[in-house]
Structure formats: C-alpha cells, structure tokens
C-alpha cells in the first residue's frame, strides 16, 4: 500500500454486521486523513430473488435480506470474496457467526496488511473441557495480529435505527483503542474503551446462560424481585468465572455496558429468555422449542450452559457456580425448574 491511510474491512454482513458496517462507514467520513473512504464488507453470497445479494446491496445501499429498511452509506461496498474484501486491510472488524471464524481467518491469512489490527464482535466462546478460547485470541493467533473485542447492550435493529445505547471495547493497546473509538463512537452509539478485553468477551457469552435462568423464573411467574436476584447472581457468577479462569479480568468491567447493561437487555427480551420461559410453560424439550420458535437454530444459552458445565466438571468446581449449574441441571438433567431459586 502506498497510502498511509487505514483501510477498513468488515467481515460479516448479518443483522448486526450490517448495523455496524453502517456506523463504521459513516465514521471514516469524519476522518478522511486517517481512513481510506471505501470500506469493504465481506458478504456471504446468497441468492436474493434471483439476484446476487452483494449486487442488490451495492445497488440499493441496503442489506435487503438482513437489515431491511435501513439505508447504508454509499462508501461501504459489499464484496463476496473474503480475500478480495480484506486484501491490504489495516483494520478488520469481525462480525460473523462464530462457527465461520476459523475458516475465514485461514483464507485471509497472508492477505491482510502486516500491521493490521482486528476487533471481534463475535458472540460466544470456544469452551472445551481442556480450556477456553476467546475468538479474539483465535483471530489474533491465526492472523498473527492484535485483536480487541466489542460487546454491549446492542440489539442490532435498535442500533440501526440510531436509538441511544452504549458499548464497551476491550483493547490491550491504547493506540488501537483510539482507532477503534474513532471508528465506532457516535452520539447515539457511545463507546467506552477499557483494557480488559477478556472480560468484555466473556460477558457476551456467559450472559446467555443467565438469560436462560431469568426465562425459567419468568416461566414460573416468580415476578420482579426474583428475576432481579437471578440477574444479580448471574452477574456475580460471570465475574467469578472470569476472575477464576483468566488473568486481567476486572470487577469494573461488569459495571460496563458489556456487563450489567447487556445482561439487563438480554434478560428482559431476547430469545434465550423467551425459549426458557416456554420450556417451563409448555413442558416441551429445548430441541422441539428450537424447531418451533427458532426455525431449528440452536439456542446459545443452553449450549453455553452445557459447555461451561463440562469445563467446571473437569475442574471439580461445579458447586462454586450454583446458578450456572442449576440452569444446566434444569435443562439437561430434568431438575425441577423451581431449582432455579431453591438451589442457588
């Protein structure tokens, strides 16, 4: 690259990816000396009414499939090939379903700028009995670059409609933090940069387990005190999990948007809460509810609960996380939903 300007690439173009692409493409316009004005976005190519989705997006400036009704800035360009999209990019924004991360990174390897830095907006963790991998670390490892993380109370449709919210960026490097702040912060999308990138990413995954607990409580019609208690206990177990198994996780992180605020949002609306509520009221198993309520998609919270349980079992620490454990037992071992208050 002859230019010293930063080239930004957004990897992913679902509901959240499109909302984020809109922000990023608007923000580079505020810093013409700092960023290349064209932002490329990798879009997984699909057929849309007989046309290619990328072609429709680039003509209509709208992701008609995943973020209908929201116009995108003209300087964001949909690109169906991930290597072409990310070639020479200095700033990589990862916002795609977690199961595609490794494959996409392997393809990109060797094509991004050597001084590139990345940020992960991916929800989820890779939890195996032998250990936990953060997606930011996985991206960093494969591409041999630094990777930050972003998470917060950020329901995509509300962000796309420019309703006020906050988000948290966890970033080891102060300089990268400044770049990401410029790329993401707007008057309606308020960014707070902290150093604890691990805590930011953990919150985004573990909150879903707590939301299952909150949903069980809703299903039992336990009311507002109980739900607040479950949310609070959940927040404390999220923090304990982070502090027990990772260095550098700080209490303060759980006061950030990625912590308490995202947890509140996830436990008030959200599919994890909703399906868990139906689990109690309908008596149907989770996989049936996934078919009926989520078109067969897997529920994140129950999956994470199982992974966390396996991880804790391997360390003989199940009993130290009674809420996580109870969610697991209710969903997978037939424990009575009432355990959600009896056993925590």
């Amino acid at each position: 690259m002859s230019s010293t300007k930063q080239r930004v690439c957004v990897i992913g173009s679902g509901n959240w990816g499109s909302a984020v692409g809109k922000i990023v493409a608007q923000n580079v316009q505020n810093f013409p000396d700092l960023f290349e004005q064209e932002v490329r976005q990798w879009v997984f190519e699909e057929d849309y009414n007989g046309e290619k989705l990328t072609e429709v997006i680039n003509r209509e400036h709208e992701n008609v499939k995943y973020l209908k009704g929201i116009k995108l800035p003209h300087n964001i360009v949909a690109v169906p090939d991930v290597v072409e999209a990310s070639k020479g990019a200095n700033v990589l924004v990862f916002v795609l379903p977690h199961q595609f991360v490794r494959g996409v990174c392997e393809k990109m390897k060797g094509h991004v700028a050597h001084d590139a830095r990345a940020i992960s907006l991916i929800k989820g963790l890779d939890i195996l009995p032998e250990g936990i991998t953060l997606f930011s670390e996985e991206i960093g490892r494969i591409l041999d670059i630094n990777c930050a993380s972003l998470s917060g109370a950020n329901i995509a449709d509300e962000v796309a409609q420019e309703k006020f919210c906050e988000t948290t960026i966890g970033c080891r490097s102060v300089e990268d933090g400044e770049t990401f702040f410029k790329l993401f912060h707007t008057p309606y999308f308020r960014v707070n940069v902290i150093r604890d990138y691990v805590g930011v990413e953990l919150c985004g995954a573990l909150k879903n387990v707590v939301a299952v607990g909150a949903g069980l409580s809703d299903g039992l019609k336990y009311g507002s005190n109980t739900k607040a208690a479950i949310i609070r206990r959940g927040l404390m177990e999220m923090r304990k999990f982070g502090k027990t198994f990772f260095g550098g996780v700080e209490s303060e992180t759980f006061f950030e948007s990625c912590g308490v605020a995202d947890l509140i949002t996830t436990c008030s609306g959200g599919r994890n809460r909703k399906v868990a509520e139906a689990f109690v009221t309908s008596g149907k198993p989770i996989d049936v509810l996934e078919q009926e309520m989520l078109n067969g998609q897997k529920l994140q919270g129950t999956l994470t609960a199982a992974e966390v349980h396996e991880f804790l079992t391997a360390r003989k620490m199940v009993d130290e996380f009674p809420l996580f454990n109870t969610v697991y037992r209710v969903i997978y071992e037939g424990a009575h939903p009432e355990s959600i208050v009896r056993d925590i």
Copy 2:
C-alpha cells in the same frame, strides 16, 4: 429486664412493614433461646369498618388494610401506642414512612433498652442544601444507639407471598450483623450483610431518580438498549454520589441486591418509572399525574431529583452528574424529554 433474651419490636405496619413483621416473627421462633417469642409491632391506629385496626389484626392475624390475604404468625402483636410497643425492646425494626421517623423516635426516647440496636428499612434521604442525613443516622442520634440499614429488590407483595429474593443489610458491627441475619434471613428472603450501611441506604433513595429517567425513555419508546444504558449510567452516578459525599461507600455495594438488583426492579415496574412514562406520553405535569395516578401522593423520584439538584448546585457539581441533572431539567425546567439521551 430480667431475661437475657432479645425483645424485638417492629415500628410500622404498612405494606412493607407487615411483610417484614411476618418474617421477623417467624424467625424468632427458630431461636427461642435468643429472642423473646412475642414480637410487638407498632400499628398506627385507624378505623377499619367501625373497628380498630389493631384489634382486627390481633384477632384475624392479618393486616386486612395493608397486606390483605397474608396470614401473620400468632406471635406478632399489634400495639397502637409506640411507647408501649417498644418498651424494653432490644431490637428495633424501623419500617415506616420517612416523615414520621423523627416524631416517633422522640416519643420512644428513654423507653427502649439501653443496649438496644436498630435497623432502618426506611426509603429516602433527608437531603438539604447544607447536607444529607441518613435516616439510620437520625434514628441512631435521637435514641443514642447503633442503627443499621436494610434495602434490596423487595417489592412487598412478592416478599409476603414468599417469592424468592435477596436483600442487603449494611451494618457497622459484626455482632449486630449476626443478630439481624438471624431475624431476617429465610430460604426465600436471602440476606447478605455488608459493612457499608451508607451505600445501602443511598441506593434505596437515589434509585428512584434513575427510575424517572428510565420512565422518560419508555415514554419516548426508545427500547431496550437505551433503557439498559440509562440504568447503567444511573448506577454509576449513584456510586459516584456515594463515593464523593460519604466516607466508606464501596463499589462492591452497587453489585448487591440494594444496588443493581433493586435498580432493575424499580426501573422495570414501579410508580416512578410509570409516572415518568406518562409524563412524556400525556404531556401532563407531574402534580396532575400524582393526582390521577397516585391518589395525590407525592412521587419520590422527582422529589429526590429536586433535592439532589439543590444539593449539587450548592457544591457547583451539577455537571458531574449528567443523568440526575437531566432528569431534574426535564421534570422541572421544561427541557425536552429527549435530553435524557442527548445530554448524558
């Protein structure tokens, strides 16, 4: 007193006082060597269908006026005279509207045991431009005893129905903390004792200002992200307020039931939220809404917002609490409700 057993007296018998009286009277039965089995409860005498309310309560074992449908243990006795109720008491549980605290304490002075200790469940603060008085401190000062505080996500009706919740007791003395734990903790009403009694009491008052902010956001239909952001910012301003103006207030307190959990409950249901929402949607002033929605009772959150504003103005620190300030400006100075996101 010839007995070494503790005599417990509950001062107040509204909705919350009755729910708490039930817990306390049940719990003394678990510790017959420690507590006198009769618990006296001061009940402000009223007429109830031509009978005295205290007589109805003592015959029916039910506070038919303020907690209908909930049976009280037989060992709690309603007493219409506060001096008689508290004579020789070693443990005083204050749970009455804040405007009656001083008058009641003045009457009790000299009649309680010299080694008595108290706990305040009173919501509110006495905020004047020259300073803030906690009701626990005021009770302690007038009666010359130690006074702890209790606050949490504790909607009275849900507690009375024995729905699971948590609460926080703030208590300087470890020994008193143990006594209060025995008196209040049950499997459905989980007590956590901490030392920061100031923080506990502050949370119970300041949360109502935040709930007004959350209600404005609801009135504007801002959705879940925005409300979570307002709750989070509010929690941070509550903490900053405590740490700025009081010694001994700790961050950890805001993770307790009295902090984050009570705030969540108050911002999801609750009259402060509801009236503030109607303030936006109806365009009517607060005093009209108080007439229409609260039978003329004063809304706590707007009152506290005004007191906090005066207190901060006297210290030239209004700008350091943008959420509190914006709530004040919207309610009292005609600022547009949208300021709740624009100006924080």
